[in-house]
């Protein structure tokens, strides 16, 4: 299900590491903040990254920067975001690093969806691209 948290669009999702058979959360879904200023796939706090066993899979590091130009060193590992509202599993690079304290959904994930933001009605809908 998609909606707003205040004025911020959010996605209900679950994160999966299918190689190790691990999920976060263990049951149900969690909140991902939709961040159109983030051009990655998804970013998660370090405890979530480690809980998914992504620190154990061969990963990579990626330099990044915030909108104000601050440099970031990010760890990256391939993982899956499951969106139960549309029954879709999307694979991509899961990133983490110091200062990532929320699950952020970026434009690399959104580009596989039709996302409709309607602040007039307070509706945020996603559907797969046709």
């Amino acid at each position: 299900m998609s909606s707003f948290s205040g004025l911020t669009p959010i996605l209900r999702l679950a994160l999966r590491n299918d190689i190790l058979g691990l999920t976060h959360p263990l049951v149900g879904t969690t909140v991902g903040i939709v961040d159109t200023g983030f051009d990655g796939f998804v970013a998660v706090p370090e405890p979530v990254f480690d809980e998914l066993g992504m620190d154990r899979l061969s990963g990579a590091t990626s330099p990044g920067k915030t909108a104000d130009g601050k440099p970031l060193e990010l760890r990256a590992c391939l993982g899956t975001v499951y969106l139960p509202a549309i029954a879709r599993a999307l694979d991509g690079q899961v990133l983490t690093g110091a200062g990532v304290d929320e699950i952020l959904v970026g434009t690399k994930l959104l580009r596989r969806l039709r996302a409709t933001l309607d602040y007039c009605t307070g509706a945020f809908r996603v559907e797969p691209c046709r």
Partner: protein, 107 residues
């Protein structure tokens, strides 16, 4: 070469002819432009159809490959391959620069 007949909006034809004239107006210029444009479009469409793929590699050897991480995990299980012995890679390279939005929080 094959002759193809199709219809285009007049505005597009004018732009095409103008571009061909600016390219020197030589014989075959329009065909070259159309071929170049269509090839770029078709390459992009085919790339989009292929989508991202995932592989498990031992050194440079691909030991399993699939269109999704779930299918790759299943393939590794079927083949009895320990995930610890392989690297999981994507056909799409990890892009080096990632922009994070600036989210301000109350103190």
């Amino acid at each position: 070469m094959t002759n193809v007949t199709f219809s285009l909006p007049e505005r597009t034809v004018k732009r095409l002819r103008r571009q061909a004239a600016e390219s020197g107006g030589r014989k075959g210029a329009i065909s070259e432009i159309v071929d170049s444009a269509l090839t770029a479009y078709l390459d992009s469409a085919e790339e989009a159809r292929r989508g991202e793929t995932f592989a498990a590699k031992r050194g440079e050897e691909v030991v399993a490959e699939a269109g999704t991480l779930k299918d790759l995990a299943d393939a590794l299980k079927r083949k009895g391959i320990d995930w610890r012995s392989v690297r999981i890679v994507s056909s799409e390279p990890l892009e080096p620069v990632v922009h994070f939005g600036l989210r301000l929080k109350p103190a």
